[in-house]
């Protein structure tokens, strides 16, 4: 089974304001997008489990003209508080890389 990292040419994460993280998955091409963007492990329920957040707050946007899947979810704590480990959310995509589709 391919992993997320095998079917995307670029994956990134970033804060979307101080209260949200957003993930952008740029699939390798149209075929990869059509085959994998709707995979169960990229649906809100699985993302919620992976990032330990409430599934009802996970936003999920297929962007077909860019072969992109965009997923956004609330941060556990607002950006920059006492226990911050990733100020800009720029490393949060890494735990998605080895998810099997």
């Amino acid at each position: 089974m391919p992993k997320v990292n095998d079917v995307c040419r670029y994956i990134r994460s970033k804060n979307a304001g101080p209260f949200w993280i957003t993930l952008d998955l740029f699939f390798t091409d149209k075929e990869a997008y059509e085959e994998f963007a709707s995979a169960p492990h990229l649906q809100p329920k699985s993302i919620a489990a992976l990032y330990d957040v409430d599934a009802s707050l996970v936003k999920h946007f297929p962007v077909p003209n860019l072969n992109v899947l965009k997923i956004s979810f609330p941060r556990h704590a607002p950006q920059g508080g006492a226990m911050e480990r990733d100020m800009h959310g720029g490393q949060q995509y890494v735990r998605l890389l080895d998810v099997e589709l």
């Binding site: 970033k14 804060n15 979307a16 304001g17 101080p18 209260f19 949200w20 957003t22 952008d24 740029f26 707050l57 936003k59 946007f61 962007v63 003209n65 860019l66 992109v68 965009k70 956004s72 609330p74 941060r75 704590a77 607002p78 950006q79 920059g80 508080g81 006492a82 226990m83 911050e84 480990r85 990733d86 100020m87 800009h88 490393q91 890494v94 735990r95």
Partner: protein
């Protein structure tokens, strides 16, 4: 506002943020193409709550002065407005005054005499709390409540301005507008909207160009020009040789947005789901189909508060016994340190936290490490003590110092000495801050939330 179907308004966006390094020749190129306005922002929440809570800027004074010097001299020569939003990172009153003082210094050094409008959008927490009491404030997800106490507790609150205060300042004769906190898009959309360009294209162009060159193939090369018409806008890089493509432009709607199709602005929602991106040639992209749907006017609020204080220590570890048992070692270290602090400091320590973050292992994600991963070669173990005062945080660090330095993997091992890089080992990191607000306030007149001051340097000089 009148609409003119022939109107094309050119906005020169010199850089993604003032202080990152404006290039004189890029700006000159944009002026030669007939720019109607120079606009960019100078801040965001991006770098964390400290900047809003303290009012201090993220970029250095020299870096901001260097960029602002180029832009103010070009403004004076080209006689087109210069708009800077979210001055001094947070756009708080203090941050705006800091930027104003730099501008005044530049004006004096170069003999410039612009009329400068200052737009203040910091809010009194008590006023916002009373608006919350009367139900004028709504939370945005993931926040769910708007208790007045939340607003009263903030050290600083800013309201994000739309384009209206910028337009009013230009109409009142300002050459330069230095704004407090503003939406990134509004600063760039202001003059196109003022001159009658289409609202969908104006707002969408603002979003695409807000990070300067980030919508081009060479993202670190200078800025862009947006040309906004009644039903479309074009975007192109300022620098010769750089290019915008359908992909680089459309992909920018994804950037730092939780929703790729809708962007909430003070007076409505930008909707781009039906936008079409089409290359005009090898460097310009035309965008059509953007819509701006008018909604009741709101302003977003940002607020930050100081919490406790932190003192940190960093210790390097190459000890192979530790590297073979990192999780166990970190757990053991943590319990020893907490017990030692409680035993020596007693009740006086108050509520405190010790966080151990092994860089090279799992400090970034904080999740358990799978066993099959190869062991680290070195660890950078970051110790973070959080307490109510700086003095207490430092006392905790000093209490923990000998254990962080010498604790073996087990009690029967010989005493190791790990590698402190600094003396003293502890570093007072200062106060910690937190963003508290993700709310909007209902606004019937933006002037209730924005105070405009006009400085006329020509009059001052002649007086």
């Amino acid at each position: 506002m009148k609409k003119n179907s022939d109107t094309v308004v050119k906005v020169l966006v010199p850089i993604g943020a003032l202080g990152m390094g404006v290039d004189q020749s890029d700006v000159d190129a944009g002026i030669a193409q007939g720019a109607h306005v120079i606009a960019c922002d100078a801040g965001s929440t991006d770098s964390g709550p400290a900047y809003l809570a303290t009012g201090l800027a993220k970029y250095s004074r020299d870096a901001v002065k260097s960029d602002l010097t180029i832009l103010m001299r070009v403004q004076a020569a080209a006689k087109i407005p210069l708009l800077i939003g979210s001055c001094g990172t947070s756009g708080s009153d203090q941050a705006l005054d800091w930027t104003r003082d730099i501008a005044l210094e530049i004006a004096e050094e170069f003999g410039l005499t612009p009329r400068i409008a200052l737009l203040y959008s910091e809010q009194d927490p008590k006023k916002i709390a009373s608006l919350a009491e009367s139900g004028e404030i709504s939370p945005l997800p993931p926040l769910e409540t708007s208790e007045p106490e939340l607003f009263r507790s903030c050290d600083h609150i800013v309201a994000l301005m739309g384009p209206e205060p910028y337009i009013a300042a230009i109409e009142a004769g300002a050459d330069i507008v230095l704004g407090g906190r503003t939406t990134d898009t509004a600063v760039l959309a202001a003059v196109p909207l003022m001159r009658g360009a289409g609202s969908g294209p104006a707002w969408h162009a603002g979003k695409i160009a807000e990070c300067g060159g980030l919508c081009t193939i060479r993202t670190r090369e200078g800025g862009v020009m947006i040309s906004v018409g009644s039903d479309h806008f074009d975007v192109e890089p300022l620098r010769h040789g750089n290019r915008c493509t359908e992909n680089t432009v459309s992909a920018h709607m994804l950037y730092e947005n939780s929703d790729p199709f809708e962007l909430h602005e003070p007076g409505g929602i930008l909707k781009v789901a039906d936008a079409k991106y089409e290359s005009l040639d090898d460097r310009r992209v035309r965008v059509t189909g953007s819509k701006f749907v008018v909604r009741p006017y709101t302003m977003k609020l940002e607020g930050a508060v100081g919490l406790g204080f932190q003192t940190i220590m960093l210790v390097g570890i190459q000890d192979r016994k530790v590297l073979a048992n990192v999780d166990m070692f970190i757990d053991r270290m943590h319990s020893v340190l907490v017990a030692r602090v409680n035993a020596t400091m007693g009740a006086r320590v108050g509520q405190f936290d010790i966080s151990l973050r092994p860089y090279g292992w799992n400090a970034v994600c904080g999740l358990p490490v799978e066993r099959e991963n190869s062991p680290a070669r070195e660890l950078g173990l970051l110790f973070v003590a959080t307490a109510k005062t700086q003095e207490l945080a430092t006392q905790i660090a000093k209490t923990c110092n000998p254990w962080l330095f010498h604790l073996p993997v087990s009690d029967t091992d010989a005493m190791p000495s790990y590698a402190f890089p600094f003396s003293p080992a502890e570093i007072e990191r200062g106060q910690i801050f937190e963003f508290k607000l993700n709310h909007v306030v209902a606004v019937s007149d933006w002037r209730d939330f924005v105070r405009t001051t006009m400085l006329d340097l020509e009059v001052t000089c002649n007086a």
